[in-house]
């Protein structure tokens, strides 16, 4: 038996080597976006509520795919009259050739039975008829509008995850912001697309700089009370404020590291400097030590080994970086008025609000910029559109949310990280200082 095995060992090894698949290709001038068609899902039941939920589902799915920034969504006016609800109904040539000329097709059906909504969804590579299926999913939940929205978000995220190279979609992420629509500046939250806006805090004072923890369980922010500006903490596990240590002096702009530490600006020792504490508020230690005010720290979200912050030590505020222990201080911006740095999820870029020409006779505008940390090269993302401030990255690194006054009042806006596809998310009252959840 052993001899038999030895005889065939080379062939077994060869066979295993042959099973190795090779892919060959290349990169040059760039890549076209995936041309995706999202057919309206078909009703799978005759329930009276089916049409309402189906419309919600189709609208949310379309918006999520459109907002993803990685697809070239085929206009619905190009679609064939017969839209599929099941794999057997897909007419490949009709979708893969002009006018839709799509590469991918998302389709499925939605039905209601016994108070439950059930959704079946597929993603097909319609130009690969031999092996078309990329994705097939089934969801079931209570037959409510909110649950249907969540299902649509999840299916969109699955598509984005598959075709976006393993980067999770943002359709289920949240945005935290400051709103004064109640008369006080309170912390609010909403879905990434501006839906489901709800108030979190009711402190009746001024609350600023909301920052959600990496695991999404707590929200740190700064608020003024009898003792002055302090770091406050809201728990999503308890749905209420929880106690947090008081540091004395003025404590502002908390920022979470990916491993759960918090950096913030504190004047407990006289001048506003950057301090770091652990997630429970203990082990406070100073990272900067100078007279110039140091504020708005932001951690490198990939490595947690660096912190960028704003310092006025040379006059006008500029962006600096340092190691997380306070060493290796470097200045990134060279002129103007630079504030509100925010580190990208891949650790490669900073986005900031910058008035590059500042001073008498130089009518500069506050715009959002993107800076490559390594090369210090920058790109201006907003142009000629009023004051823009407080940019913050989405967890997928494809979007930036920011505050803008372009509509006549301060509102929350979103755009792709290249400055395109700008959309307004809030409309009511004044809304500022947005912060995107980590996932």
């Amino acid at each position: 038996m052993k001899r038999f095995l030895y005889c065939f060992l080379p062939f077994i090894l060869l066979a295993s080597g042959a099973a190795q698949d090779w892919v060959r290709g290349g990169t040059g001038l760039g890549v076209e976006r995936v041309r995706l068609a999202a057919a309206d899902f078909k009703p799978a039941s005759t329930d009276a509520k089916n049409a309402e939920l189906l419309k919600t589902f189709n609208d949310v799915l379309w918006n999520d795919l459109d907002n993803a920034g990685i697809f070239d969504l085929v206009s619905k006016s190009f679609y064939p009259l017969q839209e599929p609800g099941q794999p057997s109904e897909v007419n490949f040539p009709a979708w893969s050739s002009p006018p839709p000329n799509s590469s991918m097709l998302a389709f499925g059906n939605l039905g209601i039975a016994a108070g439950k909504v059930t959704v079946q969804g597929w993603l097909y590579d319609v130009k690969n008829q031999a092996s078309p299926q990329v994705l097939g999913k089934q969801y079931s939940d209570n037959a409510t509008t909110d649950a249907t929205r969540v299902i649509a978000h999840r299916f969109a995220d699955e598509i984005i995850f598959r075709l976006g190279g393993g980067v999770p979609g943002i359709a289920e992420t949240k945005i935290y912001f400051v709103s004064e629509r109640t008369g006080h500046k309170e912390i609010w939250m909403m879905d990434y697309d501006g839906a489901n806006q709800q108030q979190l805090t009711r402190l009746g004072s001024i609350s600023l700089s909301p920052r959600i923890s990496p695991d999404g369980s707590r929200l740190a922010f700064s608020s003024i009370n009898k003792g002055g500006w302090e770091i406050m903490m809201y728990s999503f596990d308890l749905n209420r404020m929880v106690s947090f240590p008081r540091f004395g002096g003025m404590n502002l702009s908390p920022s979470w590291s990916p491993d759960g530490k918090i950096a913030f600006s504190s004047s407990r020792n006289g001048y506003p400097n950057i301090f770091a504490i652990d997630g429970s508020g203990g082990n406070a230690h100073r990272l900067t030590n100078d007279k110039g005010p140091d504020v708005s720290p932001t951690w490198n979200r990939k490595t947690a080994s660096q912190i960028a912050f704003v310092s006025g030590r040379t006059g006008l505020p500029q962006i600096y970086t340092m190691e997380s222990d306070g060493t290796n201080l470097q200045r990134l911006t060279d002129q103007g008025y630079a504030v509100s740095p925010n580190w990208s999820p891949n650790g490669q870029f900073l986005t900031l609000s910058w008035m590059r020409k500042y001073g008498p006779g130089e009518p500069g505008s506050n715009d959002i910029y993107l800076m490559d940390i390594a090369s210090k090269q920058w790109v201006q993302l907003t142009h000629d559109s009023g004051r823009n401030d407080f940019p913050c990255w989405s967890p997928d690194g494809r979007h930036i949310i920011f505050q803008s006054h372009r509509s006549g009042s301060d509102q929350i806006w979103t755009m792709l990280a290249d400055g395109t596809n700008v959309k307004q998310l809030t409309f009511k009252g004044g809304n500022t200082q947005p912060n995107w959840s980590w996932k």
Binding site: Q20, W22, G26, T27, N128, G165, S375
Partner: protein, 262 residues
């Protein structure tokens, strides 16, 4: 003084072994000549004379009856744009002198066009449109989408012998191209490089989608370009998990990076 004496005595002791060595070398050379001429020369056969043992003889034939390709591609353009392919040039009536041999190695570096001297006054040739690829270099159009999606750069090739991953999961190959392109920072290449260069990398994509074993397979000759390509792969955490119905544990990827300042 004692040391000098020792050296002279060592030299004296070498004479006998040297003589033996010379004699044995001569004897061995003589044996080889004798064997070649008188023993092997009478019944040995030269290479290529055929018929020996179980080896298979190969003879040249005038033609090989290969089966015709059953799938006739219509080559219909898939987009409303003019596309990337030029029409086939008119066939010239000319007797072929020999059977053309296709290029075996397509990895030849892109060479700059030879510079013509200023004294040659020829009519200025019409430059091709920037989004066109000369006939025969653009690949077929009627392929699964991701094989033609990157048409501006030549798209993908899936030569035989490497499994059918590329054809079954063409969308995944497009994901690889998208992420590599997104993470390749061309400003890392030496700005003094103005002509076209191409570097080949090989790497593996594991089941969970992360790239590993990144190596330069064929250098471009420009170290900064090679390095920028490797860094592009190092920046990528994952391409996304391999398709769930794919049975393999990893795929191997050969990827080229074309750099041109144009």
């Amino acid at each position: 003084m004692a040391a000098i004496t020792d050296i002279y005595s060592e030299r004296a002791q070498l004479r006998r072994p040297l003589a033996w060595s010379l004699g044995l070398h001569l004897a061995f050379t003589g044996f080889v000549v004798f064997y070649a001429v008188f023993i092997n020369g009478f019944h040995g056969t030269g290479w290529g004379s055929g018929g020996g043992g179980d080896a298979m003889g190969a003879t040249l034939v005038s033609a090989v009856p290969l089966p015709a390709n059953p799938a006739q591609t219509t080559n219909v353009l898939a987009t409303e744009s003019k596309g990337l392919a030029k029409p086939e040039p008119a066939v010239q009536e000319k007797e072929p002198e020999a059977i053309p041999i296709p290029d075996k190695d397509t990895k030849t570096k892109v060479k700059p066009a030879p510079v013509k001297s200023a004294t040659q006054r020829k009519p200025e040739p019409v430059p091709p449109e920037s989004n066109q690829i000369p006939y025969g270099e653009g690949g077929p159009v009627s392929k699964p989408y991701s094989m033609s999606a990157g048409g501006a750069t030549g798209g993908f090739e899936f030569p035989g012998g490497g499994g059918d991953f590329g054809t079954r999961y063409a969308w995944y190959v497009h994901v690889i191209q998208q992420k590599v392109s997104d993470n390749w920072l061309k400003y890392e290449v030496d700005p003094r490089i103005t002509d076209a260069h191409r570097v080949f990398l090989i790497f593996d994509v594991m089941r969970d989608g992360h790239p590993t074993n990144v190596q330069v397979e064929q250098s471009s000759g420009v170290p900064s370009l090679d390095q920028s390509a490797v860094r592009a792969l190092q920046r990528i955490d994952t391409f996304g998990p391999l398709p769930s119905d794919y049975s393999g544990t990893k795929i191997s990827v050969e990827w080229w990076f074309d750099y041109s300042k144009k």
